[in-house]
């Protein structure tokens, strides 16, 4: 869903061809979500079928250039004005794993420990990516989003540890 709308968003600032859309998408999101060119073309043809974009000829190298339609702009405006619902996100495997560890009598502290090391490593890598990111504001904010999520997970693990310690006293 978000690829479709992201392409519309990129097209809203001017006509572009497929490869250009891919490059700009990756630059804005810090290559956090690699996009293959096939996905771009499939998405463009669906957008065209739905009347949200239309081809406006080709550039000098024969690449087809697309532009956003009025319906496309309306669709995009609707996206930006609608909050993302919690239920649109996938289930949290870690929360389920910890719950199952508690229910199944597994050593919860060990599960927490293993995850904490991995999450801290991920957080270090994200921080390093942010430090070396030459990209603009969009890329930085995407990295920040991932940093905040990793941080929240880390805090939640601390909380799990404190609470399960309390219960075992």
């Amino acid at each position: 869903m978000s690829i479709r709308l992201s392409l519309l968003a990129l097209l809203s600032s001017g006509p572009r061809y497929g490869y250009q859309l891919r490059v700009e998408f990756e630059a804005s999101t810090g290559a956090t979500w690699p996009l293959n060119i096939g996905q771009v073309y499939t998405t463009l043809s669906r957008l065209e079928r739905d009347g949200l974009v239309e081809p406006v000829g080709a550039d000098e190298q024969g690449r087809v250039v697309h532009t956003i339609t009025e319906a496309g702009r309306e669709e995009l405006a609707r996206w930006f004005s609608t909050p993302v619902a919690q239920t649109d996100r996938p289930r949290d495997e870690l929360a389920i794993k910890v719950a199952m560890a508690v229910a199944g009598g597994v050593d919860v502290a060990e599960v927490i420990h293993t995850q904490r090391m991995a999450t801290m490593r991920a957080l270090q890598e994200l921080t390093r990516a942010k430090r070396s990111a030459a990209g603009g504001l969009a890329q930085r904010l995407v990295l920040d989003s991932l940093i905040f999520k990793a941080e929240a997970e880390q805090r939640w693990l601390d909380h799990c540890e404190a609470v399960s310690k309390e219960k075992n006293r």
């Binding site: 090391m117 490593r121 270090q124 994200l126 921080t127 430090r131 990793a150 880390q154 601390d158």
Partner: protein, 226 residues
């Protein structure tokens, strides 16, 4: 080269074992973060590393000198170690530059030399323009930068920071870490106590203390973090 080293260090406050045998080394150019729940011994560790407190047993060395054997620990504290705390940082009746000059003047350096040194280090941390303002006229981030300048003046190579991002918003907190990171990359050793994972993530190594012991370490080392 190790700038500060703790070997089998314990610290007891009466019946309370604040640290129960901790070994840790911080090298030049290295940023080490210490995390752990409250009461885990984080601040005790920092105070021992900076010679502000003495261990019950074990050895603390700063740039190769065993603190239990040197005559003047206070001199080592003043000349080699810089401290940054969450609050109680700057003296309100002194300007930013005067605050930074203070440790040098306490060391007997004349104002005529201490001031240009202070201005240089204020420039390094990016707040040259506020040198003649008083702390209350500065933002939280600027105050913390001045505190870091004061901790660095006189080429001290060990920087101890206890929750230096305390009341700052995350964007300003990140700037403070960026600054500490840059000082590390320029050769300082930094030991950072924080309860915030996002700031610990700037470190080369993250250490977790629990009940006075190092619970987890090393595994999160990023060899090419710099």
């Amino acid at each position: 080269m190790s700038v500060v080293e703790l070997r089998d260090v314990t610290r007891e406050h009466g019946q309370v074992h604040a640290l129960r045998g901790v070994s840790l080394e911080v090298s030049a150019g290295e940023l080490v973060a210490v995390m752990g729940p409250s009461g885990s011994g984080k601040s005790t560790l920092l105070n021992l590393a900076g010679g502000l407190d003495r261990p019950t047993s074990g050895v603390v060395t700063i740039e190769g000198e065993d603190l239990s054997r040197v005559k003047d620990v206070a001199a080592i504290r003043r000349n080699r170690v810089g401290y940054v705390f969450q609050d109680l940082n700057l003296i309100p009746s002194l300007t930013a530059a005067e605050n930074v000059m203070l440790p040098r003047e306490l060391d007997g350096v004349r104002a005529g030399r201490a001031r240009p040194e202070a201005l240089a280090v204020l420039a390094e941390v990016g707040v040259e323009e506020i040198a003649d303002r008083f702390p209350e006229e500065l933002s939280g981030g600027q105050r913390q930068r001045v505190a870091i300048a004061r901790a660095l003046v006189g080429e001290r190579r060990l920087l101890l920071a206890d929750e230096p991002t305390g009341a700052l918003d995350t964007a300003t907190g990140d700037e403070i870490l960026e600054l500490l990171r840059a000082r590390c990359d320029a050769g300082a050793a930094v030991l950072l106590v924080t309860h915030e994972p996002r700031y610990a993530a700037w470190a080369d190594r993250v250490i977790y203390l629990r009940d006075g012991l190092i619970a987890e370490t090393g595994a999160v080392r990023l060899e090419s973090a710099r």
